[in-house]
Symmetry: D2
């Protein structure tokens, strides 16, 4: 860490900053430059913050040489990869995990039909295909729904969740579902195989920590206005409790949006994250594009960016879906999507094998 | 509302959409254009959503003629303004409310010194100045702190809040403080005069609704990645429970940020909001600029944009502040800030009086 | 087009707007809604602007039902695709075109070595591979360089361009090079096979029009702050002169940039553009990522997004490159990049063939 | 400047970087840290680039301690301010300069009426008000218009410019007008008192340099997607030729735009720039807001941010304006705007005087 001092900083002021460095358990070395002086901070600064030095009026800036390290989430070496066990397979193993199903649980009939649909996809493309590039299928479906408008449908809550879990588990399908309130974490953890934290709660640290404490896998969505560092900081709230079963889910961010899609798909961030963190990475083409017509294209790009899992909205009858009807894939589109993603994952793995040797 | 249909849409498809319009309690009129057809939706669409129509494959887009209306938050006419009573004064009355104090409560001594400092400012610039443009002073100070990094100081929590409230109230100073967890709403409402929802929880709808239910004034910060519509949707979760004591607080948003400040100050949004909503509007120059050197300039601009309240971090000894030390004003800067804002509010009010007559 | 009128608009005002509609050669129909009235504009509005109506005080907004049409650039039907002939091959034919070479021409030796390097790649991966997925190789190299800092190296200009063209053409390699000044268009058109308009001149309409008039293929880069509509408007300045040899080049845009790359890669925009325009689409992974470590990953994603061409900086000795040294691929990386892109283009074409039938 | 090296960098690699530092005329000092080594670059680095070091594979990053300096544009000390003489007054003298008039010159009658209107404003609010806070009035009006759509009205060009200049000068009113093409710089400089470079040409370096060479004042607008550093780099192209008559004009930038205005008003950037550069700073509320209803509010905020000049579109009959009719102020609004800006500039100057003493 390098602390740069303002022009005309006095010796007395420098010594105050130096004392602070020592209080932090680090060493320092003062360097007089032509126009201004700097203080070298020496020691293990990866887990130390630059914030305390900004309190001094003589400090102009603090530059980090060693990048910020997020405990447990950051990779320790190139091969360091953590696999998240779900049911009888692993997310992050090299093959692709699909998390598909309706955006929201809407009623018993819709749940039954949705589970039937996903089960059929699972049997066709995973159970009966030993050489598939798909590791497993998790079923998604929201019982608690964060809606921008309080007058919109708010979800079936506990009752829907219980029915959904029973139905899916009876077919051997694990489920992922959103939790929105610290008071519901225990309830949701009873039924869900993966707890989902949505983009609107991406910095609701109490909720994230509480979800982490259950020990269950947590799928953490990136906040629509968050940087990668803010995203990793939030992930660290899960790791803090000793729970390493973290899946980081990209889903598009705000930006100079064009008229054409809802959020800027953060696909390169998937590549960047995979260099920096050891947890599996997911992408949600349905919420990023906001339209079913983009789901297959965005899914293909995400697979080619190397993600470990994809989330996609598939609905038995999208035309009467209560939430985000525009982005729900029809059953036929859901089957095609699964076939396509399997194909492209194969192309990706083949390419990786061929070119990483060079 | 206008529903535009894709080229080649069949009569049967049109009639399905028309049926949906009728189900929503609205009327429709189909119009055949040269290249494509549209459906006119007639009736009180201000509180209706365009979402259901997107489920139909033949629908290309839905255009809103009458803008979305947020119940209770939206203005009904130009003079419609809701005042929020705090202690013995009103936020939104025309005069300025200052919400100042340290970012975080750090210990009994710091709380005592902080309250002493704010009390002195209150006595000098409000109590002893009957012609001041400052309506009143609220003291801010966080007991629960959402920190991006889980290893940072997390706040004094309940113990700090109680001590803070007792101390401030003994001087007749109302307090505003953040609540982060639905489980803490009752506790915080016992002590605080205004409940603050922070930018990281700006779409934590359960928390917002719970805070609204207390009936206490709620200061809702805009999410750093939220549009005005998303912001107003969140505010509606407070209004939903019948609580109209809402203060909307702008604090900068993400954008094409330059190297120079933390968030793009959303000052024009203050002007725009004041045309659209009836609740008081606040601005936080400390968190938008992220540096004490911008606080006075941004505060001045916000006052000239017509905001009803300003939040600013003032600390008795910023050089050892535990949270955001870079942006805490010193006691002397806090006094100067108060004098300046009083001066500029006067200029603003004079200008409004003079030019709105023309 | 729908013109929505403010509440309380008078009959006299409506008739003025209606007259304007008629002056534009269109028809109108006034519709009285519950809270406000609207005017339907009927006729061929695809090439008409909504701007004139905004001049009327009673007009609240103008909504477009039929999207804006850009003459010649917009697709007329799904299969409408324009191929750009360069040398003896076509850009946009289904196979991939690579435009590679050093960012800047720096001296005779560097030019000679660069041409030698590109020629070797061309012979190995195109000339000797009849079943390659690469249509052809164009060599890039800037003689006129727009540098943010006026004290940076500004390019070899005319002398370098002439030497470069002679050298490349002697090997049968076509070249693409940037033109920055209307006064240089004639000169550059004499030597270059494709004229490049850079991101900084993406709305320098005089330059774009002048380049269009030469009849030569024009590679137009998107402005770093431009929307797709602004981009297509600029492209129309080329089409205006009857020159349809347009290649639209995406290269990343400004946005909520993270610390990790220079520009947000606008990959989904490539997919969107390919639905809307008939011209070939290119992507520049070197300038979008700003670092050689991203070039291969971004190139792979762009190929999977279906682009027709890729631009990439390859330099014989990047460690002493005068411009953007960080993003120049080494010769070995350039060869690997070519092999990889060929592989992924194959996977893309196979996938398209397989799944578009479904 | 601090060059940080990757883990595992070899001695031989370090010495190559050190040699480069020496070639740049600077000194170096190598420092071995706990996890990685760094190289201190010592000397006058303010005008040196960090770019060359990025060419080395062992270099991880280059951190700047002394900020980048833009020759002539950057302030040398707090009081360093350059005044731009226009006609018989100075832009940047403390008082406000107004640059008003129609967006485009449309015909002889419109020019005559526009000049009459501006002349009346000038006589009323400047000539007859010796204690006005307005330094002078410049008339704006575009003869060359950069239109996003090539089919829109492109301006009256030479003929209009000549007529405009003759008419305005006959009343003693200086003019500012846009130049879009290096080939027109001589022509425009013959007639205009200030040459304007528009946002679409904000990085058209050849044009900017050519305009600078005329020695005339140049009003440079910020590119809609440019950072402050990119903006200052462009300004340096004017200074390069020895012309210090530069006015930097902010006009809003792209960002997380809301539905409510065209560009994010970069008002805080005005404050930041005034700390960093010695040239006068202008703001354009008409183009930033894109609607006449925002002009007065944005103008007021810009004045309170301390800008030296405002540009605003005022038109004798906006309802039939050919360009941007929505944002043209009516004559009555133009007069009110002038009175208001005069009032608020007075408040700003009074505030500055009162509080900068504290």
């Amino acid at each position: 860490m390098i602390i740069s001092l303002k022009k005309g900083t006095k010796r007395r002021e420098i010594s105050e900053v130096v004392r602070k460095v020592e209080e932090e358990g680090l060493k320092s070395e003062v360097k007089a430059g032509k126009t201004k002086s700097i203080i070298h901070v020496i020691g293990d600064t990866a887990k130390k913050s630059e914030e305390p030095y900004y309190a001094f009026n003589c400090v102009e800036g603090v530059l980090r040489v060693t990048p910020r390290k997020y405990r447990r989430v950051s990779k320790n070496n190139q091969d360091d990869k953590y696999l998240v066990k779900v049911d009888n397979f692993y997310v992050g193993s090299g093959k692709l995990t699909l998390m598909i199903g309706p955006c929201a649980l809407e009623g018993e009939e819709q749940i039954k039909d949705s589970v039937g649909l996903i089960n059929k996809i699972k049997r066709t493309y995973v159970d009966n295909k030993p050489r598939s590039n798909i590791a497993g299928i998790v079923m998604r479906g929201g019982a608690f729904k964060p809606r921008t408008d309080p007058n919109s449908f708010q979800g079936m809550k506990k009752e829907g969740l219980k029915y959904f879990a029973d139905m899916a588990h009876s077919y051997g399908i694990p489920i992922v579902t959103e939790v929105m309130d610290t008071r519901d974490v225990g309830l949701v953890a009873t039924y869900a195989d993966i707890l989902q934290i949505g983009t609107r709660n991406a910095q609701n640290f109490n909720l994230i920590e509480e979800a982490g404490k259950t020990g269950k896998p947590v799928l953490l969505k990136r906040g629509m206005g968050n940087s990668l560092n803010e995203f990793l900081g939030a992930a660290n709230y899960i790791a803090k409790s000793g729970n390493e079963n973290i899946i980081l889910c990209l889903r598009g961010v705000k930006g100079m949006q064009d008229e054409v899609y809802r959020f800027n798909p953060d696909l390169v961030d998937a590549i960047e994250l995979s260099q920096r963190v050891r947890t599996p990475i997911a992408f949600d083409p349905s919420h990023s594009g906001g339209d079913k017509k983009y789901v297959s294209d965005l899914g293909r790009l995400a697979v080619m960016a190397g993600v470990d899992a994809l989330l996609a909205d598939v609905h038995p009858y999208p035309e009467i879906a209560l939430v985000d009807p525009k982005q729900q894939l029809t059953p036929q589109m859901g089957r095609k999507f699964t076939k396509e993603m399997n194909f492209y994952k194969g192309a990706y793995l083949k390419g990786q094998k061929q070119f990483n040797k060079l």
